[in-house]
Symmetry: C2
Subunit: 337 residues, 2 copies
């Protein structure tokens, strides 16, 4: 099946992906935390009927844990979808659009794109939202906008985000500064799956926090502008980093590549570190023999559920480290002269 | 020019080289520490005349420092030959035999062979000694044997040694134990260029200490037997090491190879560590894509004077680290599929 991370996006030296998520609920039905199984069934069928044939339906209540975890690793579903019952997923055949049913709200529709593509992703999400609203009766208040379980989503129900690779900002110890700055502007930045400034593989997610009293277009515009500033700063710092370490930086990124190509065991966290270094090396033009897309793909394919799924069974941490190293060696050796 | 380390010797999984050294002096001439320039000149000319055309003459007083240091790194001359004046070298065209003139004694003749070859090396040294003694009047006492400046060499004047690669014994922390054991037997073992149990690249030199009251044959026989015991123990410990670390050891030796193949800067000491690991990996059958001979050659070619000599000038430590990494990458990529 195709995935968003098979593609090369714009500004992919820094922006791994762009996501647009809209929270929607059906009127006169309790939120998923309080709906009955019967109500869940009816709503799920309604949403399924509202979606075009372009979507595959997946009942997450019956789906194997590994497959669900793997969808979380691909950012197709949120970690909340792993908990509780009455959860389903509609996933577009191109792998770019998903409709989570029974998350915090009845509907969380999401569009994910490789690279920096806020406008494009929003257009797709808006079109999908229009399609669903044709046959669904959304809970909408003329004063507040879309009603959601959590007050932080009321209004547009929009969460727009970009996943950024910020190794130079992290090395310059400037992430916390940015956390504070974007906070004042109504945005938030945090390490992937982490809190505050901790991160895996120098990946950070920048997203809007405010959904009330601001239009969808304004939200996207703001996110885009602030992201562009961060991208600019990261690029400048990368250049400086190389200027100040003309021998040390190439050495460090090439050693990371050497370890990835030769290690027989790789833990998840070491792997993230090494891939981050190699990605930096590629995007600074130091490493030319590996593509940036391959590294982005490996960042996801090397996560625990993907590793176990590739072997078709739940692996111990040690087995995973071995399979991960084998897989990475194989992928990095593909297309070698 | 051919060198001893171009060849593959016996038991080369553990024994890097065998050396036989004989100390000789010309009678009625003061030892080099006290000879006059005139006396040095006469003795040097005599020795030069006594050697066959098979030897090249090198006046070390005029030789560039880099070349002299490089000869030390190849174990062709001793570090003592770098100090003071009136020193010369006769080196056989095959690179296996050398005659140091003006070291501690007038003559230090040496044969060096790849691998474990005490008898072979001794035979060559004995033949060379015979040849020289035909036209030279050695200082010899019927009671004490050959007279030398230092009492520890009086008698046979023979120092027989083997250079052993002992990573498993070092990891098992058994080197100090061996130091004590061989000491009781009149032998000594020490880290290469180091004292006691410190070593570079897990290389240790085992040699006889006693030259008085023991024949040349007995000395060689004893060294051979004790070396064989150490070799046996090292082989057993290596096997156990792999049995106990079936994933960790391959991971460790392959990571070392990956770093050697990808680093852009390699310090001398890191390089020795990495080469030692790779050598262990090759000799345990883990690494098959690189030959043991290549690693032994790299152990010498990566030493500081060799690195500078390859560039034709004295390099700073940082420049050397870069040139070393470049050279190693190049050599390891030779003959790659």
């Amino acid at each position: 099946m195709p995935t968003w991370f098979d593609k090369k996006g714009s500004d992919s030296d820094i922006v791994v992906s762009t996501r647009i998520r809209l929270a929607r609920n059906i009127s006169d039905v309790p939120f998923p935390s309080r709906w009955s199984e019967e109500q869940a069934k009816i709503v799920t069928e309604k949403i399924r009927a509202a979606a075009s044939d372009d979507f595959e339906f997946l009942n997450l209540d019956n789906a194997p844990e590994l497959n669900k975890n793997s969808l979380v690793e691909e950012h197709i579903i949120s970690p909340e979808m792993l908990k509780g019952k009455n959860k389903a997923l509609l996933l577009s055949k191109e792998g770019d659009k998903s409709i989570m049913i029974g998350e915090e709200d009845h509907i969380r529709l999401q569009v994910i794109s490789a690279g920096f593509d806020i406008e494009g992703a929003y257009k797709k999400a808006d079109a999908l939202d229009d399609m669903l609203s044709d046959s669904l009766d959304y809970a909408f208040d003329s004063q507040f906008g879309y009603l959601t379980q959590c007050p932080t989503n009321v209004g547009t129900g929009l969460r727009a985000s970009v996943m950024l690779h910020l190794p130079a900002l992290r090395m310059a110890k400037r992430i916390n500064l940015i956390v504070g700055e974007v906070g004042k502007l109504g945005l938030t930045i945090r390490g992937l799956y982490g809190e505050g400034s901790s991160s895996k593989g120098d990946l950070y997610q920048l997203s809007n926090q405010i959904t009330l009293g601001i239009s969808e277009e304004q939200t996207c515009e703001k996110l885009k502008n602030i992201a562009m500033q961060i991208i600019k700063t990261e690029r400048e710092l990368r250049k400086k980093l190389l200027e100040n370490n003309p021998d040390e930086l190439p050495d460090s990124v090439y050693r990371a590549l050497g370890t990835l190509k030769y290690a027989r065991m790789l833990s998840s966290s070491e792997c993230e570190d090494l891939l981050s270094k190699v990605k930096l090396g590629i995007n600074l033009g130091i490493i030319k023999e590996v593509s940036d897309e391959k590294i982005t793909q490996l960042m996801i394919k090397s996560e625990p559920a993907h590793i176990s799924l590739a072997e078709g069974r739940v692996l111990s941490a040690k087995e995973r480290d071995r399979v991960r190293a084998d897989m990475i060696r194989k992928v990095l050796d593909e297309g070698r002269d």
